[in-house]
Symmetry: C2
Subunit: 945 residues, 2 copies
Amino acid sequence: ETKEAQGSTNPMGPDGPQSRNSVVICQTVGRSIFTSSVSSAAGRVGFLLQKDEGKEASCPVLFIQLNELFSTPDGLQWKQTARWIKFEEKVEDGGERWSKPHITTLSLHSLFELRTCIKKGTVLLDLDAHSLKQIVGRWIMWEGHLPGLKKLTSVLLRTPQHHTTKSQLRIVAELGALKNQFQKKIPAEAEVSNILVGEVDFLEKPFIAFIRLQEAVGLGALTEVAFPSRFLFILLGPRAKVKAYHEIGRAVATVLTDELFQRVACQAQDREDLIAGIDEFLDELTVLPPGKWDPTIRIPPPKCLPSPHKRYQRGKTQQLSGALLLKSRAGHTHGHQPVSEELQRTGRLFGGLVKDIRRKVPWYWSDFYEALNIQCFSATLYIYLATVTNAITFGGMLGDATDNMQGVLESFLGTAVAGAVFCLFAGQPLTILSSTGPVLVFERLLFSFSKDYSLDYLEFRLWIGLWVAFFGLILVATEASYLVQYFTRFTEEGFCALISFIFIYDAVKKMLSLADNFPVNWDYKINDVTLYGCICNSSGTGRSRLPPVGRVPASPFAWAAAANWSLLTRTECLRVGGHLVGNSCNYMPDITFMAFILFLGTFLCSMTLKSFKTSRYFPTALRKLVSDFSIILAILIFCGIDAILGLETPKLIVPSEFKPTNSQRGWVVFPFGVNPWWVCLVSTVPAVLVIILIFMDQQITAVILNRKEYRLQKGAGFHLDLFCVSLLMILTSVTGLPWYVSATVISLAHMDSLKKESTTSAPGDQPKFLGIREQRLTGLVVFILTGVSVFLAPVLKYIPMPVLYGVFLYMGVAALNSIQLMDRIQLLLMPAKHQPDFMYLRHVPLRRVHLFTLIQVLCLAALWILKSTVAAIIFPVMLLALVGIRKAMECIFSQQDLSWLDDIMPEKDRKEEEEKLRSSQEKEESDSEDVSRAGKSCLPQMSLH
Amino acid sequence: ETKEAQGSTNPMGPDGPQSRNSVVICQTVGRSIFTSSVSSAAGRVGFLLQKDEGKEASCPVLFIQLNELFSTPDGLQWKQTARWIKFEEKVEDGGERWSKPHITTLSLHSLFELRTCIKKGTVLLDLDAHSLKQIVGRWIMWEGHLPGLKKLTSVLLRTPQHHTTKSQLRIVAELGALKNQFQKKIPAEAEVSNILVGEVDFLEKPFIAFIRLQEAVGLGALTEVAFPSRFLFILLGPRAKVKAYHEIGRAVATVLTDELFQRVACQAQDREDLIAGIDEFLDELTVLPPGKWDPTIRIPPPKCLPSPHKRYQRGKTQQLSGALLLKSRAGHTHGHQPVSEELQRTGRLFGGLVKDIRRKVPWYWSDFYEALNIQCFSATLYIYLATVTNAITFGGMLGDATDNMQGVLESFLGTAVAGAVFCLFAGQPLTILSSTGPVLVFERLLFSFSKDYSLDYLEFRLWIGLWVAFFGLILVATEASYLVQYFTRFTEEGFCALISFIFIYDAVKKMLSLADNFPVNWDYKINDVTLYGCICNSSGTGRSRLPPVGRVPASPFAWAAAANWSLLTRTECLRVGGHLVGNSCNYMPDITFMAFILFLGTFLCSMTLKSFKTSRYFPTALRKLVSDFSIILAILIFCGIDAILGLETPKLIVPSEFKPTNSQRGWVVFPFGVNPWWVCLVSTVPAVLVIILIFMDQQITAVILNRKEYRLQKGAGFHLDLFCVSLLMILTSVTGLPWYVSATVISLAHMDSLKKESTTSAPGDQPKFLGIREQRLTGLVVFILTGVSVFLAPVLKYIPMPVLYGVFLYMGVAALNSIQLMDRIQLLLMPAKHQPDFMYLRHVPLRRVHLFTLIQVLCLAALWILKSTVAAIIFPVMLLALVGIRKAMECIFSQQDLSWLDDIMPEKDRKEEEEKLRSSQEKEESDSEDVSRAGKSCLPQMSLH
């Protein structure tokens, strides 16, 4: 049964090896500039892989273990010295520590040695044996009666000493969790490959065996983990050059970690197949020149790896014709940037909406039961705090802007109602609705316009809201969301940067206004302490019920009254109509400094705790926990500091009664009554502006959230989302609550906190991003909690405002840092030689990159200025103009440059495909480029929070 | 003349190639486990290198340029696509940008292709030609009359387009500085190697030539830089697989960057020599397995490279016998940790001192004229500020401790005099003298002891000082500095950590006492502003000249007087004997908060600016400038902020008059008069303690400063330094100034600011550390300036104390971060898999590392507690005990472990050598390990500031 390859020729016809003594140099230059034919090694491998075509999954994950023979006082002993799943882990000197997983670096020499080993040694394929004893027995039988073989058997059958069984403490830990923890990393269907190498005195020449068992067999104590073994490599020989055997052992292990070679090894019929596999492996090696690299450096695994699929493809296409190859490539390239199914037009009225509903309905119940995970609990808490912070701050600012016609209570209420409704019915329930910067800007303008022309603000706003809802429904009916394809990275980033700046600007502005409210006496002199004071004085207008002081009182009664005046507190004094006189009345000691300490402290603390995830301290789980809850922790820490110090810093004012903030309004706005009748028609003009704003704001966020890289399974719902937002516009306009659209920053944070990652990944391998927990429950609970928070006043009132501003600053800065624009702005300050190795820098001249950045910055500056001046009302139109500017940039930049710096506009798709096809050969070289083009790294970056 | 290798066999006797068709696999496994003989390739290379023995410098640095043929609308054009000196720089897509220097990663395939090229192509060695035309002409003549060769000539003679000549802007820049700047990086005697590869339509097979010119010839426009060319590699052929030619071109270039191959190429007699060189190169390659590494990743050059010398050695020792080899290795190892010449005992009285003086005298004048460099100016400024800061703070603390018997003025004066004298006469003039923490601790104890026993502090101290000086001279006479060899890293780090902690502790303590001096009214209520106040009140004890208030005054006169009272300021009030009454008298608004903002701001700002050096922004020179002046900048920034805000923060008080701070003392202390006569004898007891302290403090700093890795040329002067310190003890004791010893932190900062680094280094290569500007002038000027600073009061009085405390905190933290102990403490908090790849972790079990750390931390804790309790007086002895503890640790730890975690104690030298010898084979593998054992990286780390 056992196929034994020693001495067998087994020619494969015209594809077979040209000569028994053919050597690397001849085989590996098969695809050389000197010959055009496919080499024999490549041919063999291609043939093997083709056979294997249907059963790609037939090769299980291999756990590879290297055991070496050491001479100890107790005689020869086997010890595990390294292991591989994907990367190498070495047992460090002292034998008590695994090295960090690293890429195996070999000397080419050891690979050549390995090749010779396979060539000269025994190769036993599909050996039928069920224990180590049987295996060794059959091998030794095969070798014949040579001296030393008996001893060899006894050496091989010694129980090996595993790395982990050394110290007593370890054994205990082993029995518990540690071992299982490592075993958990290996998929259940994995197999072990055992490599046994060592030097012995009694042999005169090396004995080598490469064994493939017919059936994988558990070899007990031989392996560290309890998985069956299929491959064994044994090399025992006389004393040799230091580490020669060790290096060959590492070489076998490395070759066996290769996906391509694994399949060759599984399929191999004879020795030549294995050698062909090694030759293919050799041919694909990356080499580092000697003297320019220190081989003792351990290279950490890279974040992105070339997909093995590409390499299979290459192996297979050896046999395909050129034309076929080109076609398959074209197909591959074409699949790259298709118009997503969600955005294809049906051409029917509300066709998109119907399709969205049809797509989402089947998932509806899973949207609830899939939320039953502890991760969702943490996400809910986190997003709740962010939402409440947002509601408070935007509520405060809206209150400022509209004279409390919309205040904090309205903000809480509106957020809760609109958010919960959206989470229940929207197409993309991961979206978090919120007041947003652009809408705030518009409300401010609207209020001052109403005041200037003596219009009733809420009534005017109601009509605008109704028109906006109407336009929104028209956009839904006409499937206008199709247009979001024109929102490229350029537009998204412009918008995102603008919002981030609004966050940062508002946080700082609020802090400065706080410093105005609590003025510091900068000229305070310690020496003049006796001259400072503030006393309550009757205003002298006759309104006061107490006699005036300042003159010598005429009677004892008046004296007493004067004494009473001085005992009044500030509020009492003002209430009784007195006024405050003195050079310390207007100053508030310490509050401003304390506020700035809290503000900067919260910001820096959030930043630090967030980045704690990537630090080296403490176990990963703890770090992740701290990082996920960084903002909450920062808030708690600085609330605690504030409470302990006990200064009267300005605290969050949460409405404790359920009534509109401004007493002049009710809970329902009536459409007619105060304003002239024609206002309902005139409202169309601002409504057009608002719908542009809402559409942009809503859809840009939707595009960002539904990016391919997040691997959402349940599909998007652009039309349905806009439909929901439009209907909510009616509700919020009628009740006089703020308007809501999707908030990019919080929504991304929401998705980030719901990321699923693989747990079983080889040591050193990056955890695989598996997708997002797509469900409606977290959002729903967040908004219910927000609603309930109206009654949380007793707790929330301990939060100092500066802490919240600090959080806002953090959110703005984090959002800014996540966009590529900031990377490119930073490039402006870096000398070329220090710039990081961004993919686009390899392909686009620096001048063009800078030009692109400058145009973007100019657009942003224009938007910002516009937002701050009287022309602010046409601000939404200008946002739309970004799309036009981006289009116009196609005249300045080549499609090639834009494809690296930005996405490609849709109608160019075909043309671009052709161009891509033409340059596909060049592009082909790197798989990872596409990935790094899409995001900053392999894993989607959502680290806004 | 020209040796042409094509077709020639040229056998080399027994060492010659075994067969013309011998192939890689046979040759490279020459030192295989299967055969014991030296391979033919290794033999050939060894033979060539041996010939080359005497003239190691005969191979100039090679600048390698790769030109490729591109088809443009104007026809075929040559363009430069990459260049190498040591690492690869690629012209990026778009042709306007050089990539960052990176390690060339090749596919093994392309190296095999190259080997075939050399095998099949034309090899012209020592061609006698003086222009490109001649070269091409002779080559084409050699090839014979084949089709296409005429066209080939014309293609080859086209003027190439250099990367840099593309844009108009570039040309201008080129003419100016840019080009020269790159050329400056190449040593003047460099030579160019030109590699020309390309595809043409008119050829049917590849034409390949490897040409070595007899004499290096300038080839004009062909090369980017104006250096003569010696090697040319030309490869032109029909269309081939994408990038095949490009990859072969890169392979040639990479092989040519190899120091070993360069020498082979210079010496090669025929084709086989070159092939042997390539085979040797192949054999030493480091390979990365396919699929585990993304070949598009550009690997930045590592900080440390294995020395090429080792590789030569290996090449040579191929031919040496094993015994010889072992001997040479032993010698190499032995040279590693010798007793330095400065510390060898002469056995004569003052022998060491005499030797020190003899060693230093010849350098004396150079110690002044070598200071004429702009770097010294910057160093002077920097160290001046550090010294003044130190003088102020230690002065202040000494003043606290000794009731101003030694105050800030004494500190300035003493620092200036002692420092200047030391810089003029010491053995190691880079040392900066300063008050140090341990001495401060001792002075505090001494003062309170004197007070308790009613002794005159200064007189007592004089006697101690005299005895200390006497003991110091005895130590000098007996060459006791020999003992510093027992100060291993363990002792040094314990001492350094202790001093750092004192810095940090004092900074924080001072800040807290500041908060006590400027109390914040934590219970301040905005509402109660009218109830706060502080009024001046006559104390009512009869001392006052003004009538009491509080009762109704009896007469108009009394009223006026009462009004006057209320107009008095705090100082006036207290002067006239009034006292302050009121609930705001004891509070100082804002100052404490402002102080903490300044304190933390200065600290964080120093940290940030210091680390700015390693950021990517702005040119290196600017970053270095900012980083070097980080502390000064931080001080200026926060002094500016303080000045702008104008709050009355506590400022630095600099004496404006030249007289002792305490009026009870004069400038000279007399030995007798106040204390009983026997005090002069009793003083010997504390003097023994002080001399231990001084000896430890002085010599540990000296050991650190004179470490091998700083490559000091002028030698150390342990005996001379101690001699100077002892004499200065007499001076400072008599004048009642503080005692001074070497200060580690500032001295290291001094050396760091005087570091010389090479400017001509290949792109990507780390600048080489060349040594320190060893001179006396910077120190001297620093101390003269310190002396002059006594008169700088008008400027210095603007510096707020919190800023200075911030600097102190920074100095303490920076010093702590620089010691290995902190790394190891951090390890305690890290899970094993996240721990950095420290060399000692690879060799010492983690448990042992932790044990070592814990012992060290316990020692530190013991020292700290001792320092703070009544037993503090024996603190110096405990410091000495560190040496004993270290010695005792040899019972717990193996020599092997200690050699990784600490230095080895001297008398074990021999034993350890033997052990090293035994394990030398294992150690041999990494050259860099020794380096990383010595410091944290290749360059000596002195980044304390």
